[in-house]
């Protein structure tokens, strides 16, 4: 027992909640498949909640896991160069761990939840909030940038991308190597030194993903779309700085 009355009260309430859970032991046996729901007295709502998810649901969940892929993608230093990195540069390279996480609607017509992780910072955006997410990273000039936007569940419609680089309020078209997998994952990868026009100072990356006909047609339109994405278009922004 704790000397802290609040902690003690909280622990007591947790034990009470556990007892409340145990009072539904018969229903929980339904979920475990140990008894049939017809053998248990319960309301319709209780039956709906405790009824074991069926094989189709389990298949959907497994498919979603397999489609999700690893969430973290690390920006690797270029191994071919002669090492000339200092500890501080190594720290920057580590800080450049970049991960993008991209969630499309599931099997219902609902707005998606987005999570975007960049250098350890995670931002989550509900479907009823603006459909653009942002992140930051500091990149080593000798590094390889790998950016992956992966749907949690496979996307069945055909998607395309358009990208731009932004600096000082001006947008320019950006055409890095982009791969789109059959399940809708988008991968941008390449040496930092060749991906960007220069690595003197900060760039902002803006990537829009969506049906080809719905995508912005030029960098200026993409910039506008980043502020107010058109229906069906998802926009990801990332600010990248370069290690000194």
């Amino acid at each position: 027992m704790s000397d802290d009355p609040l902690l003690s009260a909280l622990a007591r309430r947790a034990r009470e909640e556990r007892d409340e859970d145990r009072a539904r032991v018969d229903l929980e046996r339904v979920t475990r498949g140990e008894v049939s729901e017809t053998d248990v007295a319960a309301s319709d709502e209780e039956r709906a909640l405790f009824r074991p998810l069926d094989a189709a649901a389990e298949r959907r969940i497994a498919d979603a896991i397999l489609a999700s892929g690893p969430r973290v993608r690390v920006v690797k230093g270029a191994p071919s160069r002669k090492p000339r990195v200092t500890p501080i540069v190594l720290a920057f390279a580590a800080a450049a761990a970049i991960a993008l996480f991209f969630l499309f609607p599931r099997h219902r017509d609902e707005l998606p939840v987005y999570a975007f992780e960049l250098s350890g910072n995670v931002a989550e955006v509900r479907g009823d909030e603006p459909k653009a997410v942002e992140g930051r990273a500091t990149l080593h000039r000798d590094a390889t940038l790998e950016m992956v936007l992966r749907p949690r569940v496979a996307v069945t419609t055909k998607i395309a991308t358009t990208a731009a680089l932004l600096r000082d309020g001006a947008a320019r078209a950006w055409s890095p190597p982009i791969e789109i997998s059959p399940d809708g994952a988008v991968r941008i990868v390449g040496p930092v030194a060749s991906l960007f026009p220069d690595t003197e100072r900060r760039w902002e990356i803006v990537v829009a993903i969506g049906p080809e006909g719905a995508l912005p047609r030029d960098p200026a339109a993409l910039l506008a779309a980043a502020a107010a994405p058109p229906p069906g278009v998802r926009v990801v922004r990332a600010v990248v700085d370069f290690a000194k």
């Binding site: 909280l10 947790a14 389990e58 497994a62 896991i65 999700s68 690893p70």
Partner: protein, 212 residues
């Protein structure tokens, strides 16, 4: 306990057959944790649906596999049965989902945690929380969302189950100092969460007064 070791390793490597088998194995545990949390959060406000259950279960599974299945790979068969380990993670994930609003079952209501006038009087403080089960449940929900699975495990061992520190040291492999540090951290965290809950409740009460 180690019987699922190989299955977990293969599933973490995303072998399709292993992933499917693991989903079948852990689905009852995760569904039960999700349903318990749904029931506690709904408190009769409105009906939950089977679709919500499936969505929550899927979210927990995806969290287990996030970041190259980091959470799943953290399972130590020598310490906890797989289902117990996953159950703690499920409690945390479901509470986080509700807390963040990603799938808050009462999104159309106020904060959803406590009645707006719970802390309305100036004297409303720790006493008001200790005496109100509903508020304690809301605080517990916030604690579950805030604590890491390890913190949750320690909360249950030290405070809910009132295990002696020596026993907790033995079961977790932690030193006495580390366990006492956690106990102190839990106290501070709970006080901070209680203060946040009180502020949130007062803001809602003030907003309701200004519109009435």
């Amino acid at each position: 306990m180690a019987e699922h070791d190989d299955l977990v390793r293969r599933a973490a490597a995303r072998e399709p057959d292993a992933v499917r088998e693991l989903v079948g194995l852990l689905r009852p545990t995760i569904q039960l944790r999700a349903v318990r949390s749904l029931i506690r959060n709904m408190r009769g406000r409105r009906r939950s649906t089977a679709q919500e259950v499936e969505d929550l279960v899927q979210e927990v599974f995806l969290a287990l596999f996030d970041d190259d299945a980091r959470a799943l790979r953290a399972w130590d068969p020598a310490r906890l049965p797989l289902a117990a380990f996953v159950g703690v993670i499920a409690d945390h994930e479901v509470a986080s989902i509700f807390r963040s609003g990603r799938r808050r079952p009462y999104r159309d209501e106020e904060d959803g945690a406590v009645e707006p006038d719970t802390f309305a009087s100036d004297g409303g403080g720790a006493e008001a929380i200790v005496e109100c089960n509903e508020t304690l449940s809301a605080l517990l929900a916030r604690l579950r969302a805030e604590l890491s699975p390890k913190g949750l495990e320690l909360f249950h061992a030290l405070l809910v189950d009132e295990q002696p520190v020596e026993e907790v040291c033995a079961s977790t492999g932690m030193t006495r100092d580390a366990v006492y540090a956690w106990k102190s951290r839990l106290g501070k965290l709970v006080r901070r969460l209680a203060a946040e809950l009180r502020d949130s409740s007062r803001k809602v009460a003030a907003a309701q007064r200004s519109t009435s």
